[in-house]
């Protein structure tokens, strides 16, 4: 990859040609198509579903679908940071659930303190929810670095622990009403998940902000460069004076924050917090990252690709629901698309290696 760190050109169809012009035109065209495959697939999906169902391309359906995409995309952006360092985060669904229950609990029952109950404003609740995500992420990071637990195992364990704590908060019950009251000063939680601004759901705006920030961090900051270096070759990163453990802890914290934010958005959208919120969402998030060209071996991937991956998964799932495909077949199709994505990724790598050898 000549531009692994340049998110903007990683998967977009407008990627510049990957070498001097003497490259065979056919190989270059094929490479362009492969690099932009997530976008190509997305366009094909939209064409296909809108041909089958007249409801697919309506405004209301698009808004619904992008809202679904937003939540998965935010989860997936966090996970992408972890995967770029060569790790994995299986706990994001549970972190989302935990943040949901923490936020819901603070809004519905408040925080019991000696002498009464305290209620926080919505903004403070959101900050606390995200801090909880950051804390869980930090624990993941410390397990992976300080205690040298394999990321798969550490975050698999955290998947259970965080989900368990989410259930403990309410003893498995649901916080049914998050509207708040004027006396408690905690109204307005619906804004982030239900409301729209300029005709676009606030959740989607939040996704755009998170994605933009993540693109800047990955491509324009020393931290981002170091994230890629740690995933590309950890030993070389150490020798270059990079504090590898700090980088690793940081990416799990980022992932935890994103997961918590996604959980809060989901909770706001539903208007209720229940402990099973976002169960198995980690798989969709990882799938979106992989679909977008992030290599599970680390060091290769882009934020924009991940967002595109989230769009493909969201638009595909909702489209299948809309045209009445059974849930069993939905599962089969989604799995096949993910596998297809990885197969084409291999083809891209091979083609790219071939081209760069010729130009060297």
């Amino acid at each position: 990859m000549t531009d692994t760190h340049v998110a903007a050109t990683g998967t977009a169809a407008a990627a510049p040609p990957p070498g001097p012009p003497r490259n065979p035109a056919l190989a270059r065209a094929a490479l362009l198509l492969l690099r932009g495959r997530t976008l190509v697939v997305l366009v094909l999906l939209v064409i296909f579903f809108s041909a089958v169902s007249s409801e697919y391309l309506t405004q209301s359906n698009l808004i619904l679908m992008t809202k679904h995409v937003a939540i998965n995309a935010i989860l997936a952006i966090g996970v992408t940071f972890v995967i770029l360092t060569g790790g994995i985060d299986l706990s994001v669904g549970s972190i989302a659930g935990l943040a949901s229950m923490v936020g819901g609990g603070l809004l519905f029952t408040g925080l019991a303190v000696p002498g009464g109950t305290v209620f926080f404003s919505v903004a403070v609740v959101i900050v606390i929810g995200i801090l909880v995500g950051a804390l869980v992420g930090a624990v993941n990071g410390v397990l992976v670095t300080r205690f040298k637990v394999a990321p798969f195992i550490a975050t698999l364990g955290m998947l259970y622990v965080a989900r368990g704590i989410a259930q403990l908060i309410s003893n498995g019950g649901t916080f049914p009403d998050l509207a708040g009251t004027p006396e408690r000063g905690n109204q307005g939680f619906h804004v982030i998940g239900v409301d729209s601004w300029l005709g676009i759901p606030v959740a989607v705006w939040i996704m755009i902000v998170v994605a933009a920030a993540a693109i800047v961090v990955t491509t324009k900051t020393p931290f981002g460069r170091r994230v890629f270096a740690v995933g590309g070759n950890e030993r070389a990163a150490v020798l270059s004076g990079i504090r590898v453990n700090r980088i690793k802890i940081a990416v799990y914290v980022i992932s935890g924050c994103c997961a918590a934010l996604a959980g809060l958005l989901l909770t706001s959208e539903l208007g209720a917090a229940y402990p099973d919120t976002a169960t198995t969402y980690e798989l969709n998030a990882i799938a979106a990252a992989v679909l977008g060209g992030t290599a599970l071996s680390g060091g290769r991937g882009t934020i924009i690709g991940t967002v595109m991956g989230a769009f493909v998964i969201g638009f595909l799932s909702d489209g299948l629901v809309l045209i009445g495909v059974s849930t069993f077949w939905q599962s089969v199709v989604k799995g096949a698309v993910i596998i297809f994505a990885v197969v084409t990724e291999q083809a891209q790598q091979r083609l790219q290696a071939g081209l760069s050898k010729r130009t060297a």
């Binding site: 990859m1 000549t2 531009d3 692994t4 760190h5 070498g19 001097p20 800047v216 324009k220 900051t221 020393p222 460069r225 170091r226 890629f228 270096a229 995933g231 590309g232 070759n233 030993r235 070389a236 990163a237 150490v238 020798l239 270059s240 004076g241 990079i242 504090r243 290599a295 680390g298 060091g299 290769r300 760069s356 050898k357 010729r358 130009t359 060297a360």
Partner: protein, 505 residues
């Protein structure tokens, strides 16, 4: 008498001619040495002779008959075996299981006849003079030299008449090389023809009967070993005189830059680095010679903060550096170019530019964001300075040749603005031309006032390049020579010595 001949062989890969009309002859019952720089076409020729590649033009003659070697299996069936540079053994399987991997002896149709395998493995080990090895030993538990012998044993099982060995000694200790050469001599007695590819001039001259030199895909010389000398072979390989290869630094020695006292790095059995003291001054090129496992790499890794030291003091420019982290040592003015570029040096997924800037990326920011223009300038400046041949800053780093990859790692080290450069086998795995360039760079750096400490396993290199040579053995410094009184014999003796050099001043 000729047993295997390659007649006017050419091989093209796409538009690249890897071999141009090469005729190579292997004589029966002799050790036929094939030498050449990296990229000279040795490996391609061997792939053709062992059946894994087909020539674009030309014939292969076995016992004077033209043959087509369609696959490695086909070549094996005709008695041509090959041992690759990288061992292809299963560390989790036993010696016998490794020898029969993929062609297990059967009892009935489905079951492995372990007893028969063990019996035949033992017989082959005896033929290699390794009667003491138990065929049930796991290969992973053997030292690398014995693993090499297991690989040879695997080839011998097939009644091999021609054995091709591709740089078999690159990972071996001197003693292991001796054992391997004894085995090769025995094989020669048993009328086995050996084709031996090597870089190590001093080694193959001991064992070879004939030498063939390739350069740039073409045949340049084919001669009986007894009618050649080392200088003649190097001349054939590079097309010029070997004395012009290395440049000695001639600058005056300045301030004391690096002062190490009593450095000890703990190891499992004995200290990996044992009470080592050394100094490097400005403008000085200090060589560290020693065998593999002598503790040289551990020494520089510890200096660089990658391995914790149990005892000792490190002073850089007179200041004590108690904190043994990579960041602290880098800030103090040390920089390490590691021995294994692929493992410790390069980030393969990143571009040339990003690799060069990796250690200093934090300095090129404005408001927390990277300054693309400053990055371009810094990287391009080093590329010019070190004459790195690259298609562009955005090129994949793995597309570069070994010598240019080494320069990329060196460029990264230099950007950290060190005062002392630690170079671990800086010329390993790069061809002779690139070696000369790296050597010239090191001399040049010394002239600029850097202190240079480099590790080398090549006698010719240390004697020619170092102002001062330290010899390490078993974690300790066993000798020190100045450029004036260093001899290759003295280095070899000291590298096998157990005597610790005391009271150096």
């Amino acid at each position: 008498m000729e047993i295997l001949e390659a007649h006017h062989i050419s091989k093209n890969y796409g538009g690249v001619r890897a071999l141009k009309d090469v005729t190579f002859t292997a004589y029966r019952g002799k050790v036929n040495v094939l030498v050449g720089e990296n990229g000279a076409g040795k490996s391609t020729l061997m792939k053709i002779l062992s059946g894994s590649e087909q020539p674009t033009a030309g014939d292969i003659l076995l016992d004077g008959e033209p043959v087509v070697l369609a696959s490695p299996r086909d070549a094996m069936a005709r008695g041509i075996g090959i041992i690759h540079q990288e061992l292809s053994l299963f560390p989790n399987l036993s010696i016998a299981e490794n020898m029969f991997a993929g062609r297990e002896l059967r009892r009935g149709r489905r079951f492995v006849d372990a007893a028969a395998q063990r019996r035949r493995a033992r017989a082959v080990l005896a033929r290699l003079g390794q009667e003491h090895l138990d065929p049930d030993t796991l290969v992973g538990e053997l030292p690398i030299g014995q693993q090499q012998l297991v690989e040879i044993g695997r080839a011998l099982l097939e009644d091999v008449r021609v054995l091709i060995m591709d740089e078999p000694t690159s990972a071996l200790s001197n003693h292991e090389v001796d054992v391997l050469f004894d085995v090769m001599a025995d094989l020669r007695e048993q009328d086995v023809t050996v084709i031996y590819i090597s870089h190590k001039l001093d080694e193959f001259r001991r064992i070879g009967d004939w030498v063939t030199v390739l350069r740039d895909g073409g045949l340049v010389a084919h001669e009986s070993m007894s009618r050649t000398d080392t200088a003649w072979i190097v001349r054939q390989m590079v097309g010029r005189d070997p004395d012009s290869l290395y440049v000695r630094n001639s600058s005056a020695v300045g301030d004391l830059l690096l002062d190490v006292r009593g450095l000890t790095v703990p190891g499992p059995a004995r200290p990996l680095v044992d009470d080592v003291s050394l100094t490097v001054r400005a403008g000085e090129v200090v060589g560290v010679y020693g065998l593999m496992g002598a503790g040289r790499t551990e020494l520089v890794e510890s200096l660089m903060g990658m391995r914790p030291a149990a005892a000792g003091e490190v002073r850089v420019r007179g200041r004590l550096e108690p904190k043994g982290t990579v960041q602290a040592r880098m800030a103090a003015g040390l920089a390490l170019v590691p021995e294994d570029r692929q493992r410790d040096g390069l980030v393969q997924t990143m571009s040339v530019g990003d690799n060069i800037l990796l250690a200093t990326v934090g300095r090129l920011t404005r408001g927390g964001l990277l300054r693309g223009d400053a990055e371009q300038r810094a990287a391009a400046g080093k590329i010019r300075e070190l004459a790195i041949k690259v298609p562009g800053l955005a090129a994949v780093v793995t597309a570069l040749s070994g010598g240019n990859q080494q320069k990329v790692v060196l460029a990264r080290a230099l950007l950290t603005e060190p005062v002392v450069l630690l170079l671990d086998e800086p010329t390993r795995g790069i061809d002779v031309g690139a070696k000369a360039q790296i050597a010239a760079l090191m001399a040049d750096l010394a002239v600029q006032g850097f202190g240079v400490l480099f590790i080398s396993s090549e006698l010719a290199e240390v004697t020619a390049m170092a102002d001062r040579v330290l010899v390490m053995a078993r974690g300790r410094i066993t000798a020190e020579f100045s450029a004036a009184d260093v001899t290759e014999e003295a280095l070899v003796t000291a590298s096998a010595s157990d005597i610790v050099l005391e009271d150096r001043s």
